[in-house]
Amino acid sequence: MNTFYGWVGALAASGWLPADFQYPFLTRGFLCVLILSPLLGGLSHLVVTRRMAFFSAALGQAAITGVAIGLLLGEPLNAPYGGMFGFCLLTTLGMVYVKRHSALPPDTLIGVFHALSLGLGLCLLVALARQFNVHQVESVLFGSLLTVTDADLLLLVGVAVIVAVLVFRQYNSLLLDSLSPPIATVAGAQSAFLEYLFAMILTLSIVVSLKVIGALLVEALVVVPAAAARNLAGSARSYFLWSITVAFLASAGGLGISTKLLVPTGGAVVLAATAIFFVTLAGSALLRRKQQQTGR
């Protein structure tokens, strides 16, 4: 990878690329953005269609608890993936299982898990503060490009490939199951399998994105791109493509803002995403008004 960073750095030095790309961490960050945009942006339109926005928020909170568990179990400070993935997976399976076996509304049940993981996380972080400087886990909470390593990048690529294969194989069934579980079941889809599968895909994607976006903000990138895309799209295809485009613009814009203004990457990405959302919202409202006037 060093050769690649050197080559990009040379291009930046000779003026072919922006000067910031002389720094390998920024090149690595941009590569993360190129992978995260289709990964989270692509998933976001299914997350919103399957009404799993709150579920994603609960997963982000669970990741904080997972980090604390990982560090307490002795995982390295810059890669507590075992604790994060283990606890997030347990939370995911618990949420889906209870949702499928309880008559209570899904948002109520997710709220219970949300509170549980946050409470546990806070207690564990206090325990952690006796062993570590708790500010060292800030990068996981808010996201930081400085802590992203080549190994993180490779993990992101690997997960993105697995997620793409799984989602594309099951995409039509997932969408039909989102629209009408009974019709999907009669058409041969296994609703329970799809629900568990998608929840695990989402968990995996969120966990590998945390170091860039941050646990507190990652759910925004799996909700806001699709919300913005809904203001623009007129079909399933354009919904998918706009979700990815918005995720890319928000991530690349956020990366630029965080580098220039020295603010956390996750916060900058989320601000960029929400700014795009409000622009699309205003744009679609203006367009509708114009169409109504033309129609009169």
Partner: protein
């Protein structure tokens, strides 16, 4: 009624949800190539009966299918709520089970052709690119019917398919069902419209959490205990 063995047999089917009996000891059979209607008051368990047949709910008892052909089932549910901001078009929806390629990557030429044919069959030609969320209730019912008709099912299960349809739409639906029956499809349908039941039913089951009576439309709808269950029928007779 024909004398062939049944396509579907329900033997002592019961459904209990959180302690409440929604269906108790339902035994009935559905003859092949027939139009079999289920009627009953609200809360009689009609939708639950269809859900049992489609294995959408847990039930006690036995449901036996004696398939003679493809064993394909088409289903039009009673409710289909569409998120008003969802950008999924009619052709996206119908292509979901008609192509392997993810619909978000675009539609195949063969799926497009088939969607156009299906929409023509249900009288919705030209609505391919219209979002599901802007369709009227009647149009949405027809889209669901188009979905259920491909591939041509051996058993077509419809839960109040005429609700939301105008008079012309109801007639078109009835003609379509009769054409399907002639082609070998068995139709099992819930309806509240007793005039429609008289027009198209080969066999009627009156349900009120258990079976009240079964038989031809004239036989089943003539009984006093059925009259007591179905206010619309009572009113019709009162009007003379």
């Amino acid at each position: 009624m024909n004398d062939e063995p049944p396509l579907i047999e329900l033997v002592d089917v019961s459904v209990r949800v959180r302690g409440e009996h929604l269906l108790t000891g339902v035994s009935m059979s559905v003859a092949p190539k027939s139009i079999h209607l289920i009627v009953g008051p609200n809360g009689a368990g009609k939708t639950t009966l269809l859900a049992s047949l489609l294995a959408l709910v847990v039930f006690d008892g036995q449901i036996i299918a004696h398939w003679r052909g493809s064993g394909e089932i088409g289903y039009v549910p009673q409710s289909f709520a569409v998120d008003p901001s969802l950008p999924v078009t009619v052709q996206d929806f119908l292509a979901l089970t008609r192509q392997r390629r993810p619909v978000c990557l675009g539609l195949t030429a063969s799926a497009r052709r088939r969607v156009t044919e299906l929409l023509h069959e249900v009288g919705l030609q030209g609505l391919e690119r219209r979002p599901l969320s802007v369709l009227s209730g009647g149009e949405l019912r027809r889209v669901l019917l188009a979905h259920a008709l491909d591939p041509i099912p051996e058993l077509l299960v419809l839960d109040e398919p005429a609700s939301g349809l105008d008079e012309g739409g109801v007639r078109q639906l009835e003609e379509l069902l009769q054409t399907l029956r002639s082609g070998g499809t068995t139709v099992l349908m819930v309806s509240h419209d007793l005039d429609q039941v008289r027009r198209i039913a080969d066999h009627v089951t009156v349900l009120d959490r258990s079976i009240v009576t079964q038989g031809s439309a004239e036989e089943a709808l003539a009984l006093d205990r059925v009259l007591a269950l179905l206010p619309s029928e009572r009113n019709r007779r009162a009007r003379g």
